[in-house]
Amino acid sequence: MVGPVEDDVQLGLDAIAPMPGGRALALGWVRAPEVQGAALVVQAAGPCPIEHATFHPRPDLAAAQDSPPAHGFALLLAGLPAEGRLVLQAGDRRAEQPLQAEGDLAALLAARPMQAGFALLQDCAASPTLHPLLAQGPRPFGLLADWIARLIPARGKVVEDAPGLEEAETLTSLAGEVMVVVRGSAAFAREALLEAVPLGLLPDATTGRTEAVALPLLDWQAVALPQALIGYGRIDPAWLDRLAVLDLVLQVQPWGEEAHWLRCRPRAATVPDLLDAVCRTTPFAEPSEAAGAAALAQLRLLLARREAAFGPLLTLLAAQRPAPDAGGHLPRLGLILAADDPVAARLFQVTATEFEGRCDRLLVMGDAAEAVAEAFARRGRLPVLVGAEAVQALREAAGRAGVLAVEAPRFAEAVARGRPAEAFSQPLGPADLARLLALHGAAGCEAALSDTLARLLRLQRLRAGEPAFLPVQRGWSSPHAAELVNAHLARLWTSGQAEMAHG
């Protein structure tokens, strides 16, 4: 359907595919002296607006000398009118093509340059109206299935078959942050580019099938360091709970025009892990001094972004005063934290009545949660949950239940003092739980929610002279990264604390 009208104003229609809701997707290309000044419209008996349009380079379409370059397009049309025509108007010149559904869109996408498919995937992520592209047909990823099959898969973070690239480490945090660190065997160009599209599989509980979705990546920023490309953005964290699988499709242009398209499965990371990845700029030995300094500078910028993003909410939540449970009607949820040692089960075996008299339900978290829970389950007087069920129950309790949170070691100390009731003296209200979840997402130091809760409880009983935040002990990429990230986490953890102290 290529129909050159004049040498430098050309319109080609590669395929038109019907879409749900009577819409149609048109793929093609244009060539005009000034594409930005040109306009595409549909001419038909009735109105038929173009609801969505994206353009991308088409270097595969050779042009005559001095001719303007071709640009591919993807148009979402409100309908496919009979006798309709697609018109390219460039000043006083025009080119047009009849709109007729034809062409194998999937095959066309598979055959076209990778760049075009990536652009379409970006469009899918940006526009919900294009989501059906990923669902059409029997295959996963719909019309983009063949294109996605051509992506270079990363095994873990190792990249093969992409010359110059060694690793593509991708991480997500509970707050929906997405971190990409592409490491190369040689220095990247200063103008190197890194783009990403999150691609998920959403299970349907009723049909048992999964639906592919491309997600918008918000606030994406990428930067080129000497030996690493670093990208950081975020998705709506609600997706993380809903998706069965989350992949990242990367478009990497390390040196000018050359590009690679990768498919990576990001690793769920703690906040320290995610942030430290910025400073792991090389897969080999220690980074050079220059690379290390550049990474630290980037880390500082990133930390500032995070504090601007998360700080206000954390400050607000810290300032909330617990709402009184006037009628004492809130469900009494018991929570045993840090039950990491099976020996703790002995203590709870002989003190079970302390909990049975105070709680309607009990959650146990920690490495030895099963053993501790068994001490209660055997007695059969208190429903007890562990593992993911316990975490979910705690999330659901936010806003509607009071939680008697007890850290196992501190409970032991209270019992040894002969005053076990002291361990129950600071119940967490709904406001505390909201703060807990926010802190866990923004500044959680371990994957386990129980660690965040233990830190929050510590913060709440802080005495003068005690540090508000205990630094995270892990295998940091460098002491400098450790210092920066720990200081950043400390600031997030203490957001609003000063106001509280003086309030």
């Binding site: 020996v343 002995r346 203590l347 002989v350 070691p409 032991a412 002969g418």
Partner: protein, 426 residues
């Protein structure tokens, strides 16, 4: 009336299978109460049954004579302070609860389990619970010795960090769980009987302050009390010294053997007899002592093992009983037996030994773990005048009537104390 109470004595062993001071005291109490017409049952842990249970099926609780039972503790955790097999624990609890006793008197918690005690207390909230503490296992992970694992230094106070220094592979949390579990359960007893002031003070310092906590010495039994106390000739006996017991590293036999050559230089007439071990047993444990043993020559005799029932009589054959333990001891039965025999003692100047032997009256003290000082004291002791003086002032042991009265007091219901308060009392 306490005399009409039905009492169940539950011990960590039965003297048929081991002859430790705790199980001997528990069983002697059973015999004494039974012979006094009390309604009493004895239930003891059984090593033989437990070993058998490792390979073959065996009942958890088995009759073992008239009103005596033994039980297998095969279902317990390695440290024998709790049960891994909750079903077996339940079987034992059901058995004990079904005995329908008014008083459950535990001797020790090792091989019995804090969780079993807790479950029995819950099953029998109307009963009274009494515990006799024979050592400090709850306080100290080092076999309850309160002696540091490095260099056998004495430990004077438990704390998580101190304990961590002795057991660096443990965690602070684990020490906290251990203490809380044991202290929680022990605090619910109506009475905790301590055989010495020393051990009572240690448990009080540790935090066990809720129950009544009388000091009641272990009773040696009617048979030993019926023996006449002989008067020895100090001229003949003053230079004869005896050691009674197992040659374990805490009993200080090495200190005594190091002291002997020095004492012999001060008084060549001194003779020492080791009751409870052969020469080979001692040298196997303390091979570096061979030169001292050789040097002592005929002044040193190894008498081998003895039956505990013969201890009092054997102690009559020496002028002094030496108790050179390097750990605190609580209320060593050897001291009671020596007092019963009328033989004064030479003891380390610490813990239950120092308490039970009044210096200059019941015997003499020497600096713990100091062979030089022990040698000095042995030379002094070989003086017949000193032996005669100590022999004359040496106390006898507690009598039967006094012992039973002390038990009745411990078994009596506590004023204003209800079963519901048991847990609240923690």
């Amino acid at each position: 009336m306490a005399e009409r109470d039905k009492v169940c004595i539950i011990a960590h062993s039965h003297p048929e299978f081991s002859k430790g001071g705790g199980e001997l005291a528990a069983h002697r109490q059973f015999e004494t109460m039974r012979d006094a017409g009390r309604d009493v049952i004895f239930v003891g842990a059984c090593e033989v049954g437990t070993q058998y249970a490792e390979t073959r099926q065996i009942e958890t609780v088995m009759p073992f004579g008239d009103r005596e039972y033994v039980f297998s503790f095969a279902g317990m955790a390695e440290d024998k302070l709790a049960w891994e097999d909750a079903f077996q624990r339940r079987v034992l609890v059901d058995f004990l609860a079904g005995l329908d006793c008014d008083v459950y008197h535990f001797h020790h918690y090792w091989r019995l389990g804090a969780d079993l005690i807790d479950e029995l207390m819950e099953a029998r909230p109307d009963a009274r619970f009494v515990m006799t503490l024979h050592e400090m296992l709850a306080i100290c992970l080092h076999h309850g010795q309160m002696v540091k694992t490095r260099a056998r230094e004495l430990c004077r106070r438990e704390s998580p960090l101190r304990c961590l220094a002795c057991f660096p592979d443990q965690t602070l949390e684990r020490f906290a769980y251990r203490k809380a579990t044991l202290l929680s359960v022990l605090s619910r007893f109506d009475s905790v009987i301590h055989p010495s002031e020393f051990i009572r003070a240690r448990y009080r310092d540790w935090g066990l302050t809720r129950p009544r906590d009388p000091v009641v010495e272990n009773y040696l039994g009617d048979a030993m009390l019926a023996r006449p106390r002989r008067t020895a000739d100090p001229e003949v006996m003053a230079h004869r010294f005896g050691f009674f017991g197992q040659p374990t590293s805490f009993k200080g036999l090495d200190v005594l053997l190091r002291a002997l050559p020095m004492a012999l230089r001060g008084n060549p007439d001194i003779v020492l007899t080791i009751f409870g071990a052969e020469r080979e047993d001692v040298l196997r444990l303390f091979p570096t002592l061979e030169p001292m043993v050789e040097a002592a020559g005929p002044s040193l005799t190894f008498a081998g093992r003895y039956d505990p029932l013969d201890a009092v009589e054997l102690m009559g054959s020496v002028g002094w009983v030496v108790v050179p333990s390097i750990w605190w001891e609580n209320s060593p039965v050897v001291i009671q037996e020596a007092r019963r025999a009328g033989t004064p003692l030479i003891v380390s100047d610490i813990g239950g030994m120092a308490e039970k032997v009044r210096p200059g009256l019941d015997g003499l003290h020497f600096k713990r773990a100091a062979p030089v000082d022990l040698a000095r004291v042995m030379v002094d002791a070989a003086n017949p005048a000193l032996r005669a003086a100590c022999g004359a002032s040496l106390r006898d042991v507690m009598g039967r009537a006094e012992f039973l009265a002390a038990l009745d007091a411990a078994y009596a219901p506590r004023q204003g104390y209800s079963p519901e308060m048991r847990r609240a009392a923690e």
